[in-house]
Amino acid sequence: MKKGNDWRYRISNKEAIMGTVLAILNFVWWYAFAYGLGGRPVKEYTYILGFPAWFFYSCIVGFIFFTILVFIMVKFFFKEVPFDSDDNDGEGDSR
């Protein structure tokens, strides 16, 4: 029995980091479009489908884009692991 952990934890740690990175990217996208485009005077605003461009990119495109990214992340990078299988190599603790 290795001193190390359950093999499944490595996968889970990696996925937690991916989720965090995606959340940071999401924040940057949201912030940059909102205040980058929306920080200008209203007279200079451009409009897409009737919405001010900052709102369109930050909130609407951001919503769709990050939903797609979550889909891609989960489908291609997250691994399926069993939750139950108590690894037969006998665990260190016996509760």
């Binding site: 937690a16 709102f55 930050s58 909130c59 919503f63 069993p82 603790d93 509760r95």
Partner: protein, 479 residues
């Protein structure tokens, strides 16, 4: 009375009620009772899991308060609301597989079971159980008041009758069906919330003569309505960004959310829930808040923000459709309180009673006790909600931010940092809750941020410092 509106609402209440009764037949007796009653036997699939997370998290504020604020402040408030998009995937990715695996290894049924096994400390358990019971009880009572007021405003019955109808239906299905009834009714309520969002948004856009026209009229009224800064320029980038903590990533610390991460059937269910959950949260938040802003063009001059959504629904939709839409906030309130109710009773039964008072309690007795305590908690919330005392309202103010500040690090660091120990967890809970309350009273919106930000920083350092004060925790391979 407006029967067009009342009939769909009544139909919805009856449906939810029947589902609760029906699912109660699944409750097993025997050794799996607790797992079954409080976690639905860890069998949730992806769709139900996504919906129960969204519905539990989306409360009255997503459908009543939030759109009201958007009505007053404009697109800047929609921007703020979109900070919630991350909760759909972040919470599940972070708690993820590890929480589910650990929970199975240690046979955990509640969040506190996890904390107890991880930190092996009586004080961690007592402090967490206290925080959960006190804060969530207050939060629940406030939501019940909202539910009662909603029914009162659509139907014209008196507040106490409305509250009785509301709490009666919630209590019956929660007590009878436990967690399974809660999540299945949540799934229905989630669907109602999505449909309600589509209808109200479409109805508002049509009534306002198209998006382009609405935006032009908003700009003519006050150009700030279409900026990210709010109609009165009160929404600074820092303030809006700090909501990423309160309603975004901080949600990991809410017990009613984290307990759901113990209940999925397998990793496939978790994966699907992340995708569906992200889409549904984003869709509801974007749609409802946008409808609130657009409503300003259709119904200008509403003084009470909480009335914006009900008035808008009645204005732009035929009666029976308005009834369906108005079931959405009711669904949001019900699906929040049902989960919290079960969580409070599980804290009392499982975490306090079975842990410390009678560990070898007889299974049949535990079963009766579970029904009993859930009923008693529910009835006391009902009593409190009839005439809410000041203390309750005061505590409710602290509920979500306080719980996040208390639990986020003991959960997250407990999962991912081996050196974290009981001293760290205790320090983190005390500092988190304490500094949140203190700042809230003395320096609200410190440096222009939402009050929750600094307590989460403080409790992080408290956790680290606390964890270094004593030797290592006993080595196990469980975590």
């Amino acid at each position: 009375m407006n029967w067009d509106v009342i009939l769909p609402l009544a139909f919805f209440l009856v449906l939810v009620f029947l589902v609760g009764i029906y699912t109660s037949r699944h409750i097993k007796s025997g050794p799996s009772f607790l797992q079954d009653y409080f976690l639905a036997g860890r069998e949730l699939g992806g769709f139900v899991l996504a919906m129960t997370m969204v519905a539990t998290y989306g409360s009255a504020s997503s459908f009543i308060g939030g759109p009201g604020a958007a009505y007053q402040l404009g697109l800047g408030w929609v921007l703020l609301a979109m900070a919630q998009l991350v909760t759909g995937y972040f919470t599940l990715a972070v708690l993820g597989k590890k929480f589910a695996i650990v929970a199975r290894k240690i046979n955990a049924v509640t969040l506190i079971d996890f904390l107890k096994a991880r930190y092996d400390s009586k004080w961690v358990v007592i402090l967490s159980a206290l925080s959960i019971v006190i804060f969530l009880f207050s939060a629940m009572a406030a939501q019940w008041v909202g539910g009662g007021r909603l029914i009162e405003s659509f139907t014209g019955v008196s507040y106490s009758t409305a509250l009785f109808i509301f709490s009666g239906s919630v209590l019956v299905y929660v007590i009878a069906g436990g967690f399974r009834a809660v999540v299945i009714t949540d799934a229905i309520q989630g669907v109602v919330m999505v449909i309600g969002t589509v209808i109200i948004l479409a109805g508002t856009i049509v009534a306002g003569g198209g998006i382009e026209n609405i935006i032009v009229e908003l700009r003519a009224e006050n150009p700030n309505l279409i900026t990210p800064f709010g109609s009165d320029e009160s929404l600074t980038p820092l303030f809006v960004s700090s909501f990423w903590i309160l309603v975004g990533v901080g949600v990991v610390g809410l017990p009613q959310i984290s307990v759901r991460a113990m209940s999925y059937r397998n990793s496939k269910a978790m994966h699907r829930a992340m995708i569906i959950g992200t889409f549904v949260v984003g869709f509801i938040m974007l749609g409802m808040h946008l409808a609130g802003v657009f409503g300003r063009v259709i119904l200008p001059g509403i003084e009470v923000p909480d009335k914006v959504m009900p008035l808008l629904a009645l204005e732009v939709l035929p009666g029976w459709l308005a009834g369906i839409v108005l079931a959405a906030p009711l669904a949001a309130v019900m699906s929040t309180v049902d989960s919290v109710l079960l969580l409070v009773s599980s804290a009392i039964i499982k975490d306090v009673y079975i842990n410390y008072i009678k560990p070898d309690a007889d299974e049949r007795f535990v079963k009766r006790l579970s029904f009993g305590i859930t009923a008693v908690v529910g009835l006391s919330v009902f009593t409190m909600a009839i005439n809410p005392p000041d203390l309750l309202i005061w505590l409710n103010l602290f509920a979500f931010g306080g719980l996040e500040a208390a639990f986020i690090w003991p959960i997250v660091m407990g999962l991912y940092w081996k050196r974290g120990n009981a001293n760290g967890a205790i320090a983190s809970i005390v500092v988190g809750v304490g500094s949140y309350m203190w700042l809230h009273l003395n320096y609200p919106n410190l440096w222009g941020m939402h009050t929750v930000v600094m307590p989460i920083v403080f409790s992080f350092f408290a956790y680290i410092v606390g964890s270094f004060t004593k030797g290592d925790r006993p080595q196990t391979n469980t975590f």
